[in-house]
């Protein structure tokens, strides 16, 4: 018996058949490859717009000098604002109310004069000021003010010809600045690999069993281990393929900056092992195919929303964050982000060990209780 546990050529034959069956069924190809890509495209487009948002800005020029006009032009050139000019004759407050403006920049009457004085004295005295009339309760106005400050700072620097003494750099908890899409793509990779592995293990096997294909296989030299390894390897190959497609689209369409390193492969493999293992357990515990796939759904949906696939876990209340930490997908998400976004090897290793332990337990358990034949007696 010892010599008959694993056969490379049988595993090869199974993988060939699985891959042929896969690409000959177009709906499966769509769900497996195109669906995650569509998610990335849709969410990526929504969030890309936020990243490069162009704001409305009303400017009331009370000075009406070449200098003030130059300033307006400089703001316009920053390309972050669509500028509406407000006539100096009207009252800015009333205008803001009637025209529903949440921010009006007012260039004071003595703007050019103050500028001249400032240039001549060349001291660090009080700067020339602009008045900002804004509605603090309005949504997004702080972002707008922040962007305006940045633009003005740039203009200042150009006019004085000196580098700024102090710059404020946005510091995030991550080492480098990242965009939402760069947070999102690893989450979708983890989720797509999870769903495919779980469904593959539950549905494909249930179907083959029900149709009697497994019964025929049991009359050939194939072993349980051959069968399980074939499934896992096939799922892994598809996971790598589907990840490659997702990454390619993300690079081409959104020019994401995500690191690709060996960790990526490690986490995909652990994702596959964990959820194929879980699928095997569900198949055995639930007996009937329908209840197994219902159980798979019941496990997958909370995992998708609570383990940081679509938004950071830190955004959730404390008790849900605690809950997230017992979900296996959380460690795939965190691990992939540590590997691809922040490139933090220590953090990636920690996640890999956690999900690795989980994968080992469910996979071994799943393999032990899976039977190829109709009988266990």
């Amino acid at each position: 018996m010892k010599l008959h546990i694993l056969h490379a050529n049988i595993i090869y034959a199974n993988i060939i058949v699985s891959i042929k069956s896969f690409y000959r069924e177009k709906t499966v190809v769509f769900f497996r490859l195109a669906f995650p890509v569509i998610l990335i495209l849709v969410f990526g487009t929504i969030f890309m717009e936020r990243d490069n948002e162009i704001f409305d800005l009303s400017i009331q020029d009370l000075d009406r000098t070449p200098s003030s006009e130059q300033l307006v032009e400089a703001i316009r050139l920053s390309k972050r604002f669509t500028i509406t000019k407000v006539s100096p004759a009207v009252d800015a407050k009333t205008y803001a109310k009637t025209h529903k403006r949440n921010l009006i920049v007012i260039i004071p009457k003595d703007f050019e004069m103050s500028m001249m004085q400032k240039m001549e004295s060349d001291t660090f005295g009080t700067p020339v000021s602009l008045n900002q009339l804004y509605d603090p309760s309005a949504f997004g106005v702080t972002t707008k003010l922040g962007v305006l400050d940045m633009v003005l700072a740039g203009i200042n620097q150009e006019m004085s010809g000196k580098p700024p003494l102090i710059v404020s750099e946005p510091i995030s908890i991550l080492k480098k600045k990242y965009r939402f899409i760069e947070f999102f793509v690893p989450g979708i990779i983890a989720m797509a690999v999870m769903t495919a592995s779980l469904f593959g293990a539950v549905n494909v096997n249930a179907e083959l069993r029900q149709k009697g294909v497994i019964r025929k296989l049991f009359t050939t030299p194939i072993t349980r281990i051959d069968w399980i390894l074939s499934n896992v390897l096939y799922q892994f190959i598809l996971a790598v393929l589907s990840t490659a497609v997702m990454l390619l689209v993300s690079y081409v369409v959104f020019s994401v900056s995500l690191e690709i390193n060996a960790w990526l492969v490690v986490f995909i493999a652990l994702d596959v092992f964990s959820f194929v293992g879980l699928g095997m357990i569900l198949t055995r515990v639930a007996k009937e195919a329908e209840s197994a796939s219902a159980a798979a759904d019941a496990l997958m949906f909370p995992m998708m929303f609570l383990s940081g696939t679509f938004f950071p876990v830190e955004m959730m209340p404390e008790f849900l964050q605690k809950f997230a930490r017992v979900l296996p997908l959380y460690y795939v998400n965190e691990g992939l982000r540590a590997a691809m976004v922040s490139v933090d090897h220590a953090a990636a290793l920690k996640c890999a060990l956690t999900i690795g332990a989980f994968a080992a337990v469910v996979f071994v358990l799943g393999s032990m209780i899976t039977t190829l034949g109709g009988e266990s007696t």
Partner: protein, 317 residues
Amino acid sequence: MTQNPEYAIEVTNLTRRYKGFAAVDDISFTVRKGEVFALLGPNGAGKTTTVEIINTIRKPTSGKVTLLGMDVTQKKYKIIPRIGVLPQGFSTFDRITVKETLQYYSRLFCNPNTDINGLIALVNLQDKVKVQYRNLSGGLKQRLGIAVALVNDPEVVFLDEPTTGLDPRARREVWKVLLGLKKKGKTLFLTTHYMEEAELLADTVAIVAKGKITAMGSPGELIENNANYLVAMLKSVDENVFEIVRNMGLAPAYDSQGHIKVRLTHTEDVRRLLNTVKDSGASFAGLDVRKPNLEEVFLKLTDEPLAQGFVRIKGAE
């Protein structure tokens, strides 16, 4: 009696229970090498259970089974490469073509020398080489299943109901393939519901009912030993005749042509039957008396009325 090299299969006091219910109940038989052996029996008789115990995929509750001299419960991995199996209701991967399917199974047997084209020709699927399994008709699927059972050039081939669900033409096509295998000297172990199939193909037929073998022998012997009665056929359209015969204490039944058939245990019964019907004044066109055929023997041995069998045979055709 064990380990006789002449025997491909030896079954001794085999019993298989499911939760106390004996699906196979203390059966014994042997199959010689090169012999075609058929288990003939109605639904639920225990045929599949018996076959699957012999081909190692189910476990017996008690008894001893050797296949090619090896204990089936001990030597699964030694036995499997030397046998071929067409399971009941054979099915394989939907989107894999005929040729790819054969390549796949031949790889499972690590058998790079399988003559795939030869197998395709054997089951006459040359025109369907590139057709996916899901697009084959039932008869073609079954023929592919037989080819699959042969990829490892097995010494013993098990075929569990190879023609169930096929139309008469498709069934004849399968028989042709099986007769070809028989000619090649393969040991075939066959299960079937159909007497004609057993009669045509088998050297030895074992009739099973309710887990027991009720009769065994060559088709000729079975008729010889169990045809200790006569079958009378009354050609009549008069409905009263049926009642009259039943009132004689006999068990009449209509056959597929609407004639009345009845088993007669004694020669005198023929005269008694004829006189009774004549005396009643009922009209009838004639009386035929003959020895039963295997079909009728089978129905007797499985304890079924003549008519029920005929209805089923007709439905199957």
